[in-house]
């Protein structure tokens, strides 16, 4: 053995301080604490700003559909806002999740090799388009051109209350806002689920094929079960964006404070759009009322994410993570 390789330098075996390790541990711990602190601080801030308005309110905050916070007798409630927000987001999800998963599946497992990355980039680019552009497009292009579609729904599926339109006006509706929202969250859903589809170990796909699975059966046997937690996360992130989307919805909806299941009729409102539209004209109590509605949106988003976590955690043993 050469001199160079023989054991010469004896490192001391006792404990030694490692400043870089300590610094790194401190930074990561600090980052974690800051996130938790920020979340808590936002909630506390909203509550603190909202409390005076909530005290002055003369109608039930959760169930009322009125919005007159700056009256001498302040009256405001979030029922219509919650209804519009949830309904538009749910419709957007119903459209965007299947399409987004389809796009993701196509780009990850079906598209020709040369073509797939390009398609992936285009979908990702869609996520980078500012929401005001989607709003303008919805208002200027989609709205005038979709009237025929909504009328068709009314005439042929009008027996379903959701598609019934008693006003015969088919613009500035929840349905239109939901379609725009769906297009906006589509890239989120599709990009995330594409990543998880791509992460499915080739061994599982080969195992399914070797058992005589067709391409679709391979997806069902090996790809979807493995990607399920990721698919849920993708849908929930999309839902989060839809719930909080402001400007596109504010442009499209003609704001009303009512609970109307006829989704193709004009009207409806959402938390975020209402805050954007009312903020400048709001008085003291009005601002507090808007912040209170923001607090509710915050809690709803939180609850949605927690629910998604529960769904993912429930079958942890079978996740393939171990």
């Amino acid at each position: 053995m050469t001199q160079l390789l023989s054991p010469q330098v004896q490192p001391p075996l006792g404990r030694s301080s490692r400043p870089r390790d300590a610094a790194f541990a401190g930074i990561s711990r600090g980052s974690g604490i800051i996130v938790l602190f920020t979340m808590g601080a936002i909630g506390a801030f909203l509550l603190w700003k909202a409390l005076p308005a909530l005290r002055a309110n003369t109608v039930p905050f959760l169930t009322s559909t009125q919005w007159f916070p700056d009256d001498p007798q302040p009256k405001f409630g979030i029922a219509a806002l919650a209804f519009g927000t949830l309904l538009s987001s749910v419709i957007a999800m119903v459209i965007a999740v299947p399409v987004g998963l389809g796009v993701a599946l196509y780009t990850s497992h079906y598209a020709p090799r040369r073509f797939a990355p390009t398609l992936g980039y285009v979908v990702d680019l869609l996520a980078a388009v500012p929401s005001i552009i989607f709003g303008l497009w919805g208002l200027q292009i989609l709205m005038p051109n979709s009237i025929g579609l909504w009328r068709w729904f009314d005439q042929h599926l009008g027996f379903i209350p959701l598609f019934n339109n008693s006003q015969n006006i088919y613009t500035r509706s929840i349905a239109l806002a939901a379609v725009v929202l769906a297009i906006m969250i589509l890239p989120t859903v599709s990009a995330i689920s594409r990543e998880v589809f791509n992460q499915v170990p080739p061994g599982h796909i080969e195992a399914a094929l070797a058992l005589g699975a067709t391409r679709w059966e391979t997806m069902r046997t090996a790809v979807f079960p493995f990607a399920r937690p990721g698919m849920v996360s993708a849908a929930m992130l999309g839902l989060g964006r839809a719930l909080g989307e402001t400007i596109a919805v504010a442009l499209i909806l003609s704001a009303t404070f009512s609970i109307n299941w006829h989704v193709t009729e004009p009207g409806g409102n959402t938390f975020a759009a209402n805050i954007a539209l009312k903020w400048n004209e709001a008085g003291n109590i009005g601002l507090g009322a808007l912040i209170a509605s923001g607090l509710v949106l915050y809690i709803i988003t939180f609850a949605v994410n927690m629910a998604a976590r529960v769904v993912v955690e429930r079958r942890r043993d079978f996740s393939g993570a171990n």
Binding site: A207, L211, D317, S319
Partner: protein, 258 residues
């Protein structure tokens, strides 16, 4: 239940790259045929052409003919999906479906083909797991995920999954290379039992293993990087290891290279 495989003039390509050239060989039913050879010689590639798994890789294709009894599995009217359910495969790395239970893994192949009654599935699960020498170890926890098993148990679970659909042939691609010696022994004993009913082809890096489990051995070799792999010699295992007719075979099995 067991069929014979007859490979003639097989050339295997990845895109334009010729990976294996001019293979002619016969795999006898109810016997174990071992493919041995150095890394990159194309033995796994040839194995994967036998159940049309090779073409799953983009750009991969073959020339030549592979007969299962008298039917060309590369014939124009042949559905590769049906070929793969007739010729089962076990992979190098144990790959039970992590999202399925032990029970679910065994019946995964059957469920693809037809709706089957629960009682029938129960029977298949028991007989397949018994066939894979795993039943006693897992019978009380069939609902647990396959991933809780040890590596050797997982590989036997994969064998159970493969034989549950009652294939004619079982292909094994280095099934023991990720396992410890005791698990390897368990799998080798299992191969001995399985050959009563199945045609078995096993690729192995381990020459002792080939000598222990196989009846016939095929030695593949490669002339150099970028050159195609070739079948050098095929004979009874006793002859390959006792008196090989090619110098290259002798060099390889005596450990002079590879």
């Amino acid at each position: 239940m067991a069929k014979r495989i007859d490979v003639s003039d097989l050339n295997v390509y990845y895109g334009t790259f010729l990976a294996v050239e001019g293979v002619n060989l016969v795999v006898e039913p109810r016997a174990v045929t071992a493919f041995i050879g150095p890394s990159g010689c194309g033995k796994s590639t040839v194995l994967r052409t036998l159940n049309r798994m090779h073409e799953v890789t983009p750009g991969a294709r073959i020339e030549g003919k592979i007969l299962l009894d008298h039917e060309n599995i590369y014939g124009p009217d042949i559905d590769p999906v049906n070929v793969r359910s007739t010729i089962g495969m076990v992979f190098q790395k144990p790959n039970p479906f992590p999202t399925m239970s032990i029970y679910g893994n065994v019946v995964a192949g059957i469920k693809l083909k037809k709706r089957t009654k629960k009682s029938e599935l129960d029977d298949v699960v028991e007989s397949s797991l018994r066939g894979a020498n795993l039943w006693e170890e897992v019978k009380d926890r069939l609902d647990r995920p396959g991933s809780v098993l040890s590596g050797g148990q997982q590989q036997r679970l994969c064998i159970a999954r493969a034989i549950a659909i009652q294939p004619q042939v079982l292909l094994m691609d280095e099934p023991c290379s990720a396992l410890d010696p005791i698990s390897t022994l368990a799998i080798e004993e299992l191969i001995h039992e399985l050959k009563q009913q199945y045609t078995i082809v096993i690729v192995t890096h381990n020459m002792q293993q080939a000598a222990r489990v196989s009846d016939t051995t095929a030695f593949f070799n490669i002339a150099g990087t970028g050159k195609p792999g070739k079948l050098i010699e095929m004979n009874t295992t006793a002859n390959i290891f006792g008196s090989p007719s090619e110098k290259a075979t002798e060099d390889y099995i005596s450990g002079r290279f590879g």
